[in-house]
Amino acid sequence: MSNVETYTTPDGRTIGAPVMEMKNITLRFGGVVAIKDISFDIREGEIRAIIGPNGAGKSSMLNVINGFYHPQEGEVLFHGKKRGPLRPYQIAAQGVARTFQNIALFKGMSTLDNIMCGRLTHSKTGMLSHVLWKGKAEREETENREKVEKIIDFLEIQTIRKTPVGRLPYGLQKRVELGRALAAEPSLLLLDEPMAGMNVEEKEDMSRFILDVNDEFGTTIALIEHDMGVVMDIADRVVVMDYGKKIGDGTPAEVQANQDVIDAYLGVAHD
């Protein structure tokens, strides 16, 4: 399946060429090998899940994708071109946005300002126009505000627009963080455990938002998730990691039938 240019999902969406390709990635911290020789790709328009037990190296993988860690071996291809050792903010400017496992919102700012921060990569005005405010800066601010208000409507968080995010409950903070990532209008959206610590209803809400984002904006999404039910429901393809190695890759059904995956999750019987 990985060699075909496009494929069609059971619900009829057409998945395009790879956006991001990881080739033989190896990441070490001192002597500890966090990721060992992993290759996979993320394709245009799909929802790609990365799963695996704790400590399997999933978050490290996301960190490699958005340039926070630099792998010792292997290469990353973005839209078919080899990516150099860029800093995370440069990769963000290329259209990769993400959320974090432990919420990384800007606690001193309001919901609105947090989401407005997501627009920073699209900012075309410099400090000089900010100094004067009237004119370019104000116009850009208003344009951004309009886009951000759409996201606020989409995520149904109008009432907390001006609340400092530090005061919001966990579930809403996760939603604001998603909003901040969406505001960047990313071509690739990385979600690190978007549903961790949520109850069933919150998970359903979040799943709906993720599917809607994929559906309405055609955003490519790569997500890490522990809840297998959710992953099987929303993901198009799944990568399974264990102890830094890839042990499975394919559609949810294929992965579920994979013996290595079953062993990793349920344990292997020792004789």
Partner: protein, 332 residues
């Protein structure tokens, strides 16, 4: 060997001894930082206050005499006694322990869970308060301190090394007070390390340093630990105050030794006891040697004011984790 070389060695030795004193002050910082995450800017003023109190007790000064006289028109100055140094030191130690209790009771207790920067600011406020309070209590004039440590050049060392020299070199000039200070500081440093490693309180202290919540959950009283740590820091301040006070008199500039300890902390790390010791020596030797070799001949002197900071700064730029810290792996 030329005389110039031996002067260099002499500067080196003096730097080393100054460095041990810096380590001592830095140790006070490290203890408090480890146990409570507070960067205690008041450490230097604590040393000044301790020294003032010691001199005041020794000479039988009436506390707040000036203020009382102003308000009530009285003529109080002295109780008219002279206490032996030993008794006065014990009494001053008592005052520093009381001080530790007061700090915990009235400041720290109310600032639990605040951001580190807020706590740091609070200690700057505390430093201001203590500076004014100490002056009100004992007067701001320069006081002479004499607790019986001999002073002046050490003749024995000077004579026994004189044979090394060439032209104009008559043996190493080392101040006896500095030698005493070095030995005492070294003993103190070792005993603090032993205390924190092997005693029960020391273990509790390290537990608190690692994780406040976890320490609480195994039944360690945070507040008691804080009082103990601040009392130890007060004790360290007292020792530092005695040494520096005997050397150059008890006056405002004594509180500036805290500023000498800060680059030591940067170099050694805020949480590392060996870092404080080694860092202190590097800074002590470094600034004396720099002044001797480059500062005084080429830059107009007085480079000691900033050299330590620049050294620490450059060092940190290339090695942000400090001397003994592990490489920082940032996570998200």
């Amino acid at each position: 060997m030329s005389a110039g070389f031996y002067f260099g060695v002499e500067v080196f030795l003096n730097g080393l001894m100054a460095g041990v004193m810096y380590s001592l002050v830095a140790l006070g910082f490290v203890l408090i930082f480890k146990a409570s995450g507070i960067f205690n800017y008041a450490q230097g003023v604590m040393a000044l206050f301790a020294a003032m109190t010691l001199v005041g007790f020794q000479n039988g000064q009436v506390p707040f005499a000036h203020l009382i006289n102003t308000i009530f028109g009285t003529e109080l100055h002295h109780f008219g006694w002279h206490l032996p140094a030993f008794v006065a030191i014990l009494m001053s130690l008592g005052v520093m322990i009381l001080f530790a209790y007061i700090v915990e009771r009235f400041i720290l207790k109310h600032l639990v869970n605040q951001e580190p920067i807020i706590l740091f600011m609070a200690t700057i406020g505390l430093a201001y308060f203590m500076e004014g309070f100490g002056d009100l209590m004992w007067g701001s004039e320069i006081k002479k301190m004499d607790v019986g440590i001999p002073q002046g050049g050490n003749l024995w060392i000077e004579e026994s090394t004189a044979f090394l020299g060439g032209d104009g070199f008559y043996g190493f000039y080392l101040d006896t007070l500095d030698i005493y200070a070095t030995v005492i500081a070294a003993i103190l440093v070792v005993s603090l390390v032993v205390f924190s490693k092997y005693s029960k309180t020391g273990r509790a202290l390290r537990a608190v340093a690692d994780d406040h919540q976890a320490a609480l959950s195994v039944g360690i009283s945070l507040r008691t630990i804080w009082v103990i740590v601040w009392a130890i820091a007060g004790f360290v301040a007292l020792v530092a105050g005695i040494m520096w006070g005997s050397k150059s008199g008890v006056q405002f500039s004594l509180s500036l030794i805290a500023l000498k300890a800060l680059p030591v902390l940067m170099l050694g790390g805020f949480t590392s006891i060996p870092g404080a010791i080694i860092g202190g020596m590097i800074i002590g030797v470094g600034e004396k040697m720099f002044e001797f070799l480059i500062g005084a001949p080429f830059l107009g002197g007085a480079t000691e004011n900033w050299f330590a900071y620049m050294l620490a700064l450059l060092f940190l730029v290339f090695r942000p984790q400090g001397l003994f810290g592990e490489k920082i792996i940032e996570r998200v």
